[in-house]
Amino acid sequence: MFAKGYHDLGTPAATVTGRVVTLEIDGTSVTVPDGTSVMRAAAVASRDIPKLCATDSLKAFGSCRLCLVEIDGRRGFPASCTTLVAEGMKVRTESPKLTELRRNVMELYVSDHPLDCVTCPANGQCELQDMAERLDITSTRYGLAGSNHHHGELDKSNPYFQFDQSLCIVCSRCVRACDEVQGTFALTIHGRGFDSQVVASAHESFVDSECVSCGQCVETCPTGALVEKSVIRIGAAERATKTTCAYCGVGCSFEVEMKGDQVVRMAPDRNGHANHGHACVKGRFAFGYATHRDRVLKPMVRATISDPWREVSWEEAIDRTAREFKRLRDKYGADAIGGITSSRCTNEETFLVQKLVRAAFGTNNVDTCARVCHSPTGYGLKSTIGESAGTQAFDSVEKADAIIVVGANPTEAHPVFASRLKQRLRQGARLIVIDPRTIGLVRSPHIAADVHLQLRPGTNVAVINALAHVVVTEGLTRDDYVRDRCEADSYAKWKKFIAEPRNSPEATASITGVPAALVRGAARLYASVPNGAIYYGLGVTEHSQGTTMVMGIANLAMATGNLGREGVGVSPLRGQNNVQGSCDMGSFPHEFSGYRHVSDDAVRGAFEAKWGVGLKAEPGLRIPNMFDAALDGTFKGLYVQGEDIAQSDPNTHHVTEALSAMECVVVQDLFLNETARYAHIFLPGSSFLEKDGTFTNAERRIGRVRKVMEPRTGFQDWEVTVLIANALGYPMRYRHPSEIMDEIASLTPTFAGVTYEKLDRLGSVQWPCNDKAPEGTPTMHVGTFVRGKGRFFVTEYVPTTEHTTAEYPLLLTTGRILSQYNVGAQTRRTDNVIWASEDLLEIHPHDADVRGIKDGDWVGITSRVGSTVLRAEVTDRIQMGVVYTTFHFPESGANVVTTENSDWATNCPEYKVTAVEAIRVVHPDEWRARHESSLRHTTTA
């Protein structure tokens, strides 16, 4: 069932052609786009036609025969879902004959359907029930005693929803949703005629099938056959509130359906601009962490990190926080303290934390977790095209002809966008995957990459240079575009550099491991289509040359004319829900909101005037610099909101040593995370369900987060920051996050037109949103680049210093999986653990064989900085010489082995390349104990 209160128009909107058609429906004139179905036109005119197999998220199917209509001049009773409107058409949606036909269909359905509606979980939201009521079906001429499916199987295997065959009307909506929307093709109709039934994969239980639990089948089911277990457990929702998902950077819109203070379900919003009604297993179902027993709901303090925690009142916790930061500031100076903002918190909360640090602490020592993911995106795109953000809306992919996915794994990390991408690929767009692993997009049902450049980790820049070399030397550049829109000098310099033979695919093949012919084919494909689009992820940024690679991507897009319109562009896929927003809000130590450097007198002056305090003109410390300064004895206190640096940042031992060296660490989080082990004050956080605010997704879309329940701790996170500021003697007087957004808008040109009223009215807006673009900017750099002329940069390939040796012969690279999210703090506390309850080490069969490692064995991993132990998954998804793992589970200690190597421009860690050795381990507990004891040793050192 779709979201409560949604008006289903029956079939999708017509492809926009600009032509409109006027017809008459039940005597009323209706004008709709050409290509619209009669069913949709009638719904638009509030003349909804009965239907069961049709829904506006799926192509018309024409199977249920309920939507028959009469059309003047046409014989018979055409199905309105498959009949398109025509100029002057006259349609009747009701007549005695139509009623007779529809009643007959409904009587057949009812004859094979349990009549216990009152106890059915779909009661009140069942389309079959609605149709029966509408057609006044109280009995069936076919009787109820015949053959039926009343004793069909009940599959409760999935933790979040169940499938009850007895309630299924075999309308195929679930099958089509899995095919058309999700693109997994996990469901099918098995058997024929009366024996037809929906089955998962090869007649397996849902949980054992290929189903990825996106919930689209449940959303689209017209009856109670597929229904959320939470609906069964809690009952029908009483109200619904629109909000934005707090998982990945796709930023899906949901209706949170509530009964009392309980979340009944998260129903994807079909009007959602980012997701258009789709969702994934995390956003759709994994919200249980918000009420998990591990939530810490009261503030806690302790004198030292080896002491037990002591619950205290909010007053005491805030007072102590303020006193400690004042003490450290007085004793060591303002630059001895700082803060870290969170990409999981709202824009308003992030803005307030950086304001607290700059204005109340008196330092620019503020950074954000984007430091360790997309900071190179900010630097690279700002330098080349003028803005630190992706260039497109997600909808743009519908017009792409060739798509490069590099260093990203959308089916796992950005699943809703992946589904959109796969829809476009099934329509015929071409795909180039650049990744060391054989990710899901390389081959999945009805999808196959045209080219997979399976490069060695750490060689991205050599590959992008080789692609550009082919484009330049084979005359595939768009010189007219470049002449109009880019700097001539920088283009000439870059063109000369990139054309050098050392950048050719043949010359770089020995570095990258990619056959030259594949690179040449990929370059020709990307450059020869009308619209080439590039999507990338952390496999681009988390390298010592992350920024260079981002610049290389921008160079390639500019040289081929692939920026500034729909269907093209450079699109970073952001890992967390508000990575874009946290960067926009001035979380980096060198810049204010809107990416303006702190040394800019005019900008700084505006902030000083608004905030009533002098601000520093020098950049502050980045996160890794804070750690180094702490070990050096010059950084003493840290306020960390919503980030688990002890788990997510590289070289865990270094991080924990640094935290241990500080005199006051304040952690604000939902749970006692790994960082809290080193904290002196713990301030309980509020979940996205408990707060108002906004998130900004990867397409620069600002969406509202709306409070659906009272904060379980008593305060929303922004209120806690206000309390700290006030206790520090720097008054903050916000009554609602909308007032914080008003301040952001007043200080940030790209947000100047953003108000809560506008967000409520439009649903969402993409920045820049200002006088020039009052309703936002879906596509950036149209006509001209934000920086004026686009600038090419010479992108010399510089090998990472993290190379293999006889001692460390394998390269470890890291990534994410579908069911878990980031450090797992949320998803580990949901039923998602049935799909993954530990991080695994992927190892190629050859590498496993020579080490005597078998699938499932424990494997010790040792790098130059640390060791950990993981269970092996022997698979040829990974190439020889490379191993792969995730970082969702703290006990795995994936970041115990990663090093502090980092991007030259931004210090983004090089998570993607760590030289390691792997050996089979007989006693994993000894390895675990070694890891644990080293952490304990660090803690008490």
Partner: protein, 74 residues
């Protein structure tokens, strides 16, 4: 601050600007350090340049010239 780490960072920055800026690379690196390095980091490497240049022996040529450039305005 760990001086070896600062030296490594300067070398990484220099490797990029050596390709991008050619003879102007030291100035470009120095500008990058001014814009993105916190003052105590700059002060530390400038102090080493002035007082203990042997500690910077692992700096690349571009890096060494960049630190010298930075020292002029520090």
């Amino acid at each position: 601050m760990n001086l070896d780490r600062l030296v490594a960072m300067v070398n990484d920055i220099s490797a990029f600007f050596a390709g991008e800026s050619g003879p102007d690379a030291p100035a470009a690196v120095a500008n990058h350090l001014r814009r993105f390095w916190e003052p105590r980091m700059r002060a530390e490497i400038v102090a080493a340049h002035r007082e203990n240049p042997g500690a910077l022996k692992d700096l690349s040529e571009v890096g060494r010239n960049a630190v010298a450039e930075l020292a002029k305005t520090a």
